[in-house]
C-alpha cells in the first residue's frame, strides 16, 4: 500500500522517522518494566535490595519462586480464578450468542423492543447498593453465583455477535430451512461453526475480564477460601501483607522486608505469565474476529 521508505521524499522520511521513533519509545516503555520485573523476580533478595537488579547470574536465585509456589493462598486463588473464569466465559458467551441470534433476524417481531431493552442497561443501572441488596436477598453472597450470573449478559458482545451473524450469507439459513432444520438446529449445526472466530474472541474477552477483575469478588466473597487470585495478589502487592506462611521462617524484620519485596516480583510473574503466554496464540483471531466485529459495531 505504501511506498518503500527509501523512495519517499526527504520530508516524508523525517516525519515518518519521527513517528516511528515515538512508537518505538512507547513500545520500549512497555517492554522495559516487564523485563525488569522478570529479572528482579529471579534475584537474590539481598542483592536486589542493596544493588538493585543485576545481570550477573551469580546474583540470581529461585528463592522467590519457591516461596510463591509453596504458598497455599496463591495456589487456591489460582484454582478459584480458573473455575470462575471458565464458568463465567462459558455461561456468558452462551447466553450472549443465544440472544444475538434472534436479534440478527431483521424480521423478528419485537426486535426493536428487545434491542432497546438490552441497550438501556448500558447507560442506566441501579448502582452499587441496590444491586448488592438484591444479590444478598437472593442468598448468592459467598457463592460462585454472585460472581458469574449477574454480569453474564454483555450487551456490547450481543451487538458484536449480532452484527457478525448478519454478515453470514442469508442463503445458508434458506438452505437449511428448506432441508427442514429448525432454528435450534440451524444455530447449532451451521451458524456456530461458521462463526468460530468471533466466538473465540468473545470467550477470550470474558475469560480475561473475569481473570483480571477483583471488585465483585471483593464485595461478594467474604470467605477467604473462595477468593480469586486477584484478591490474594491485592493483599500481597498493594496492602503489603504477604501471607505469614511465606515469610514466617525468617528471623529479623529487615530480612523479612527484603523477602517481601522479592515476593512481589515473583508473584507478578507467576500470576501474569499464563495470560501473557496464551495471548500470542489468540492474536490470529483478533484479525478475523474483533476487527470484523468492531468495524461494523
Amino acid at each position: 500500500m505504501n511506498k518503500k521508505f527509501s523512495k519517499l521524499s526527504k520530508k516524508d522520511q523525517i516525519i515518518l522517522g519521527l513517528g516511528y521513533l515515538l512508537m518505538g519509545l512507547f513500545a520500549l516503555a512497555i517492554i522495559v518494566p516487564l523485563i525488569f520485573v522478570i529479572i528482579a523476580s529471579f534475584m537474590d533478595p539481598n542483592v536486589l535490595n542493596s544493588k538493585g537488579i543485576s545481570f550477573n547470574v551469580a546474583h540470581w536465585s529461585l528463592d522467590g519462586y519457591h516461596r510463591v509456589l509453596e504458598n497455599k493462598m496463591i495456589g487456591k486463588g489460582f484454582l478459584n480464578s480458573i473455575l470462575y473464569s471458565v464458568s463465567f466465559s462459558m455461561l456468558s458467551v452462551g447466553v450472549t450468542l443465544f440472544a444475538a441470534y434472534p436479534l440478527s433476524k431483521l424480521d423478528l417481531a419485537g426486535r426493536r423492543f428487545f434491542n432497546t431493552f438490552f441497550v438501556i442497561t448500558m447507560f442506566f443501572g441501579g448502582g452499587l447498593m441496590p444491586t448488592y441488596l438484591l444479590i444478598n436477598k437472593l442468598h448468592m453472597v459467598n457463592t460462585i453465583w454472585a460472581i458469574i450470573v449477574p454480569n453474564a449478559v454483555n450487551v456490547w458482545n450481543i451487538i458484536l455477535a449480532r452484527t457478525y451473524f448478519q454478515s453470514v450469507p442469508g442463503e445458508l439459513r434458506e438452505a437449511s430451512s428448506v432441508d427442514g432444520a429448525s432454528d435450534v438446529l440451524h444455530f447449532y449445526r451451521i451458524l456456530m461453526p461458521v462463526c468460530k472466530p468471533i466466538i473465540a474472541v468473545l470467550i477470550l474477552w470474558q475469560f480475561v475480564g473475569m481473570w483480571n477483575s477483583y471488585f465483585d469478588a471483593m464485595i461478594y466473597l467474604e470467605d477467604s477460601w473462595l477468593q480469586p487470585l486477584q484478591l490474594v495478589l491485592r493483599s500481597i502487592l498493594i496492602q503489603n501483607t504477604p501471607d505469614p506462611g511465606m515469610v514466617a521462617d525468617i528471623q529479623s524484620a529487615a530480612e523479612m522486608s527484603k523477602l517481601a519485596e522479592l515476593l512481589k516480583y515473583s508473584t507478578i510473574v507467576v500470576s501474569s505469565l499464563p495470560l501473557l503466554i496464551m495471548y500470542p496464540f489468540f492474536q490470529k483471531y483478533f484479525d478475523s474476529g474483533v476487527m470484523v466485529g468492531s468495524i461494523k459495531g
Binding site: G19, L22, F26, A27, F98, G127, L134, V290
Partner: protein, 306 residues
Amino acid sequence: MEKRKKRSKNSSSLMYIKKNWQLYVVFMMPAFLLTLVFKYLPIGGILMAFKAYNPRLGIWGSNWVGVKNFSRFISSPDFAGYLLNTLKLSIYGLLWGFPVPVILALLLNRINSKKVKKNIQLVLYAPNFISVIVLCGMVFIFLSPIGPVNKILGTSINFMTMPEAFRSIYIASGIWQGAGWASIMYTAALSNASQELTEAAIIDGADVLRQIRHVDIPAIKSIIVIQFILQAGNIMSLGFEKAYALQTSMNIPASEIIPTYVYKLGLQLGDYSFSTAVGLFNSVINVILLLMVNGIVKQFNEGEGL
C-alpha cells in the same frame, strides 16, 4: 383503516411468534430474564435514595425522606472536592489518552513489513492482558521510595503518598495499559480503507501528512467520533477498580472519586440510602454529559452522532 392495519400487524406478529417460538423461548429467554432480574430490578432499588433505608423494613417499608440524602451530599464540605476529582481525572484522562491510540494506528498503518507490524502490535497489546491489580502493584513497586524510579533519580520520594502526583500516575498508567489495545479498532478500519485513494494521493504528489489528513483520517473518522462520545459518556463511571487500588490514605485528597466514595459509604459504613443517592447523582450527571457531548459532536459532524 388505520385500526385494521394495526390489527393485521398485530395478528401477523402473533403468527410470527407462534411460528418461530423457538427464537423467543430457547434463544431470547435466558438473556432476557437475567437482564430483567439483575439489571432492571436494581433500578427499582433506586427508590432507596429517597428513603431512610432500614434493613428490617425493607426498601418498600422504609420511610420517605424526599431529597434529604441529596441535599446532605451537596451541602457536605466534601462534595465539591469529590466531584472535581472525578471530573478532572476523567477529563484529563480523556484529553491525554484519547489521541494516543489514534496516532499509534496511523503510524502502524504506515509500516510496510507485515512481520514488523505484527511484532510491534504484539508488544503494544500485551499490557491489556495484565490485571489492574498487577498494574497497580507494579506502579507501587516502581514508585516506592526504594524503587527503581527513585534509584534512577537518586532521590527517595514516596510518589504514592502525594496527592499532586496521583492524577499523572493514574492517567499515565492507563495509557501504558490501554492505548495499544484501543488502537486495534482504528488499525482494522485503516487496513480496510481504500488503497486506490492513497495511491491517487501519492500520484498527485501529496506528502505523508496530507495523505494522513485527507485519506487516513476520513477513513476512521466515524469510529473516532463514536469512540469519543462513548468515552465522554463514561466520564463519571470512571474505573473504580484502579482508582481504589491506587488509593493510599495520604493521596485521598486527589484520589477520592465519587465511585470510591459510594463504595465506602455503602459497604464499609453501611449508609445504604446515602450511598445510593450519591451513586444516582453520579449517573444523572453522566447521562447529562453523554447527551451534551453527543449534541456537540452532532453540530460539528454533519448531524452524525450516536
